[in-house]
Symmetry: C2
Subunit: 363 residues, 2 copies
Amino acid sequence: MVRVNGLEGVVVAETELSLVDGQQGRLLFRGYDAADLAVHRTFEEVAHLLWRGHLPTEAERVALERELREYRALPPEVDAVVRALPADRDMMSVLRTAVSALGVTRDWPPAVDDAIRLTAVLPTVIAARAARLAGEEPVAPNPDLGHTANYLYMLRRGQVPAEAEVRTLEAYLVITMEHGLNASTFAGRVVTSTQSDVVSAMTAALGAMKGPLHGGAPSEVMTMLEEIGSEDAAEAWLRAALERGERLMGFGHRVYKTQDPRARALRDVVARFTGADPHFALAVRVEQEALRLLAEYKPGRQLYTNVEYWAAAILRSVGLPKPLYTPTFCCSRMVGWTAHVLEQAAHNRLIRPQSEYVGPLTE
Amino acid sequence: MVRVNGLEGVVVAETELSLVDGQQGRLLFRGYDAADLAVHRTFEEVAHLLWRGHLPTEAERVALERELREYRALPPEVDAVVRALPADRDMMSVLRTAVSALGVTRDWPPAVDDAIRLTAVLPTVIAARAARLAGEEPVAPNPDLGHTANYLYMLRRGQVPAEAEVRTLEAYLVITMEHGLNASTFAGRVVTSTQSDVVSAMTAALGAMKGPLHGGAPSEVMTMLEEIGSEDAAEAWLRAALERGERLMGFGHRVYKTQDPRARALRDVVARFTGADPHFALAVRVEQEALRLLAEYKPGRQLYTNVEYWAAAILRSVGLPKPLYTPTFCCSRMVGWTAHVLEQAAHNRLIRPQSEYVGPLTE
C-alpha cells in the first residue's frame, strides 16, 4: 500500500504523445519539437500527428481539413441546449454542457471521428454563444478558411482575419495542444478507463479545466499588461509589485526549470509575423524589464518567462476578451485530451485508487 | 517516482465517509453499520449523515426533507435541455447533460445546498425523460411523499407506491449511497481538486459511471433471473451455465472476501417487507441453488452473493426497466459523490499524477 497525497510523482500512464522535459526546457509531440511545430505547422497537421501518430501526407491533410470543416456546424440539439442556458452561465459551463449534449459515433472503443467532431465544434459553440450574448445572430462557419482562421472569423461575425493574427493564434493553439498528464487530461483518462465514451471523458476534462487551480489560463498576465498600460510605465510598476512581495504573473513554471520552450516559440512567432503591434511592443518591453528585475530581486531563482505570458500577449492582440481565454485554451487542448482518450483505450485498465478510512469505528 | 498501473493499492485520499472492510464483510458510513442504516433509516436521514457528519435531529430531518422537496422540480433550463436531446440518447447521457445544465450556488468551496439540489433533481430528470419517451407528459413531484416514494410515484405517472416497495427500494438506495473510492467518485474528486464546482465534478462522476467497467449495475443479474424464469428451472439452468464455464452474475466481489454486507441487508429487508412476491421467491430459490452449486463446482472459492444480486431483485420487483438501473444507482450514489466533493474541498490538494513518455525522441 502506497500513500501519495495529490499523486505527485506517481506515474499512472505511459504515453507516446508528449515529453515534457523540464530540466532541458524541451517539449516533444510524438518526437517532434513542439516549438518547431508551432512555428511551421498548421493546427490540422499537428492534430493529425497527435491523433494518428504521424504528420499527414498531402492527401491526409486535405482529408482531415475536410472532416474538421464538415463538423463545424452545431448539431441542432447542441444549438438548442446552448440556447437554453441562462445568459449568466459562464462559458466553461456552456462548453461542458454543449459537449455533453453531443452524441458519439460509438461508445467503445472511442473513435478518431468523434475526436474530430469534438474539436471541430468547440469554436462554433464559443462563437455562437458570444454572438447571442451580444444580442446578435451567430454567423455560419466559413468553409474557405482553416480551423484557426474560421474561429476568428466567427468571433468577429464574418470578418476575415489578417494573416499575422491567424499565424500567431495558430502557434498558440498548436503549442498548447498537449502537455502530458495534468488534472483535466487525467480526469478524462479516469473516465475513459471505465470504458465510458469520449464525450463523457471530455465533459470531465472540461469540468476540471474550469477549476482555477488547473492553471494554464493566461488572464492574470493580461490583467498585468493592462494595468501597466505603456512601455514607459513598465519598470516602475514591476518594481513596485516586487517591493510589495507580489509574484509577477507569467514568469516561472512548476516543471520548466529553464526557459519554457512554449514561451520561446510564441515569442519567435510574434517576432516573425507581427510588425509594429503596440500590444507586442509592450509585451516585449515588460518581459525585458521583468527578467532584469527578477534577477535583481530574486537572484538565483532562475525565473523565466512561461507560456502564459506570450499566450496572453497573443490572445490580447487578436482581440479575444478575457472570459474567452480558458475556453480558447480548451479548443486546442481538446486535441491532446482526445488523443489521450484514444491512447488510454488502446491499453486500457480501470483507474481505481483507494481511500483510507479515518472516521469513527463504532457509534 | 512510483509507477502504479491503474493506481491499484495507492491511497490518494483520507475519508471519514465509509469503511469498506472486505475481510470482515463490513461497510460503515461514518462509523454506522450501513446494513443497519439501510434497514432502519430513511434516504434523507442517511444523506444527512453523509453530508453533515451526523444523523439528523428531528428538526434537521424535517429541514432536509423540506429542502429536498423544494428542489425536486426541474429548473426551466434543465427541462429545456432534456427536451432538446434526441430520443435515442441513452439515459446516462441525458443525466450527465441535465446535471451539467444546472447552475451552482457558488463555485468554491462547494455548498451542501448544491449537493441537495443535485440529489433532489436527479429522480425528476429520469422520470420526466422516461415519461416523454413513452409519449406522455411527466407528472409533477408529489410534496406529500418522501424522496424514494416520490421517485416511484413520478415513474408511475402519479400512482402512489405500496409501503413494501418504498421500503425495499429505499434500502437499496441507502446501502448503495457510498462505497469509498471507485472510478466515478475518484473522477469527481480529481475535478474538485482543481477548485472546480460541484456540477463539474458530478458530470465527471456520471460520465465515469456510464462505463461498463465501472460495475455496480445489476442488469446482468436481472437478465439471468429472467432467463431462469421459474423456481423449478433454477438448478438445471445454473448447472448448465457452470458446465459451460460461465460466471454466475451476482456472486463474488472484488473486495468482499466474505458475505457482502449490502447483499445481506437487502435480503433482510426483502424478507421483512415483502410477502409472497413471486420475484423474490424466485430470487431466494436461485440464490440457494447458486450457492450450493458454486460450492460444488468451485470448492474453496468462497463465492458469496453480492449487492447486485439483491439490487436486481428489488429493482425488478418495483417494476424498474433495465435501462433505468444505472441511472437509479446514480440517484443514490449522488449523495456519496457529493459528500466526497465536500470532503475533498475541505482538505484540498490538486490531484495531478504523471505520465511517462515512451514515444520517439527525435524525428
